[in-house]
């Protein structure tokens, strides 16, 4: 319980600091527009009235935390989950393509890593391309993928998932190449003294040794997948999803909607990383890992 308290106090104090800073910035950033409004209406306010008004604008430059919280709460808990204004519904749309892309990305990443570790030619030829692929800005590639796939009749979930795949295979490849190469020389020598085949060395030594690396890279990959899914919703004219909410919010200057969609995205990301982390811990325990 002490460790819980040890963690809770620093986390909450940082959070409190952020909220205070956020309120200060909200007042500062919303002041010019509020002053404009007051001048046109010919009103004058006391300082506390003025501050109250800067924090209650319908389309503020920077919404106050409580405005975002209220919007988030309403759109998460008070709407039917089938409504296209529900954050749960939109998060689910994004989540489904995130998960599909993540599954593809992880599989692809593992396959590429196995190839790189076992085939010297692939090691030399593939790695530079893989690194280059990640230097291309995803915002430039995403519309092309969507448009090209739409032209051949693939629309909906798959094109978005492919952008997630594009972002998520990379950390898995890098992590798994490292993981599959992680066995000590002594362990490899041991397998050699048993005259073990390459397949036996792979399944009995390299694969189990790489598991911790897999879960570490999957944590990065799942977050990247979510970013991919959101980015994938921007150019598609998608009607649902966290990306679509962000875009619609931007069109109609609904800054509070944008922020609550952002919060929804963060919550989904945190949950995904947590689930991967828990899965990793369960697997580690099943493989005889020492309890921390």
């Amino acid at each position: 319980m002490d460790t819980f308290r040890d963690k809770l106090i620093p986390v909450t104090s940082i959070l409190a600091g952020v909220v205070v800073l956020w309120y200060v910035m909200a007042v500062i950033l919303n002041t010019p527009f509020q002053r404009d409004l007051d001048r046109r209406a010919g009103e004058t306010h006391t300082l506390s009235e003025f501050i109250g008004k800067t924090l209650a604008q319908p389309k503020p430059t920077l919404p106050a935390p409580h405005q975002v919280a209220v919007n988030f709460f309403e759109n998460t808990f008070l709407r039917p989950v089938t409504s296209n204004r529900s954050l749960v519904y939109n998060a689910w749309v994004t989540l489904s393509s995130t998960l599909l892309g993540f599954a593809f990305g992880t599989a692809l990443g593992i396959i590429i890593a196995v190839g790189i570790v076992h085939v010297a030619t692939l090691d030399r030829s593939l790695m530079p391309w893989i690194i280059a692929s990640q230097t291309i800005p995803i915002l430039a590639v995403a519309p092309m993928i969507i448009v090209v796939l739409a032209a051949v009749g693939i629309t909906g979930l798959v094109p978005k998932a492919m952008i997630s795949t594009y972002l998520s295979f990379f950390p898995v490849t890098v992590g798994m190449v490292k993981g599959l190469r992680s066995p000590e020389i002594m362990h490899l020598d041991l397998m050699h003294t048993y005259n073990a085949s390459r397949a036996q060395t792979f399944w009995k030594l390299r694969v189990p040794a790489s598991v911790p690396f897999l879960f570490t890279s999957m944590k990065v990959a799942v977050a990247a997948s979510l970013v991919g899914a959101i980015v994938g919703e921007l150019p598609t004219g998608a009607v649902a999803g966290i990306g679509a909410k962000l875009l619609a919010g931007a069109y109609y200057s609904q800054s509070i909607d944008i922020w609550s969609a952002l919060v929804a995205g963060s919550v989904v990301a945190a949950l995904l990383v947590m689930v991967v982390g828990i899965a990793g811990r369960i697997v580690d325990r099943a493989m005889g890992g020492r309890p921390a």
């Binding site: 362990h187 020598d189 048993y194 005259n195 036996q200 189990p208 493989m287 005889g288 890992g289």
Partner: protein, 263 residues
């Protein structure tokens, strides 16, 4: 020495030169050695004398660059492919994700033995190293000495007649080491295996061996071979007898003669 039985290991004019960035390094030069069945041979010498390299050549983990080596009358590579030896490394080198019994069973799995045969051999070898009751434990749950015993069990599990041990007790404390030395002698007496044992401890070499191969560095070579006159039954206090001390003194002299102390 059992001179009449066929040689388990026979090396002749054996040499191994590593190509490094600083030029060639002669790890082994002109090694002639014959090891008969049932012998316990220790290799002792300062670091860089090639004792581990020699063991690795026998195990076909390194290829010699000159001379010949035969193991059980075959080339070292053929012998390895036939799983002629069990190898014990400096560290226990157990797989952390396998329980003790599954670690011991690893070579048996690779050889494709039936589950029943595996279980029976695992039980027998764990009994041999006094690790009964630890089958389901993971390596981290065992002490260093027990881990090393598990790794010896793993090397014994597939019944190779030759056991190659590379400073297996080097990382353990004196008390555990004494205990394991005793157990190893007992095990050797019971199983009649041939053991090649690399060490840098003079008392350990003298206590265990029927023959002590003294090696010296630059280039790595055999500088002396000492036959032990100690009986096969060796209680730990044999180490205080004049006979033991005389052999130890010979080993020490051999080490001194082969080693230049100017550097």
């Amino acid at each position: 020495m059992t001179g009449t039985s066929p040689a388990v290991v026979a090396a002749s004019k054996l040499g191994l030169t590593f190509q490094t960035n600083d030029g060639p390094v002669q790890a082994l030069s002109n090694v002639d050695l014959t090891i008969g069945k049932g012998e316990f041979v220790s290799f002792i010498g300062p670091s860089g004398c090639g004792k581990t390299t020699l063991l690795r050549v026998i195990a076909d983990l390194e290829k010699p660059t000159s001379g010949t080596i035969s193991v059980n009358g075959m080339t070292a590579e053929q012998a390895r492919e036939k799983r002629a030896y069990g190898y014990v490394f400096q560290a226990a080198a157990l797989f952390p994700w396998r329980t003790i019994e599954r670690n011991v069973g690893l070579p048996l799995e690779i050889m494709g033995l039936s589950k029943a045969e595996q279980a029976q051999r695992i039980k027998r070898t764990l009994d041999l190293v006094n690790l009964r009751g630890f089958e389901k434990k993971y390596p981290w749950q065992l002490s260093g000495g027990m881990q090393q015993r598990a790794s010896i069990a793993r090397a014994l599990a597939f019944d190779a007649d030759l056991l190659l041990m590379d400073e297996p007790f080097g990382a353990l404390d004196e008390i555990v080491r004494d205990h394991l030395n005793e157990q190893l002698l007992e095990l050797w007496g019971r199983t009649n295996k041939t053991i090649c044992f690399v060490t840098h401890s003079i008392p350990e070499a003298v206590y265990l061996s029927t023959r002590i191969v003294v090696m010296s560095p630059r280039p790595g070579r055999v500088s002396d071979i000492i036959e032990s006159t100690l009986p096969k039954q060796r209680p730990l206090d044999i180490r205080e007898t004049p006979e033991f001390l005389a052999i130890a003194a010979r080993v020490r002299d051999g080490l001194r003669a082969g080693h230049s102390y100017d550097d």
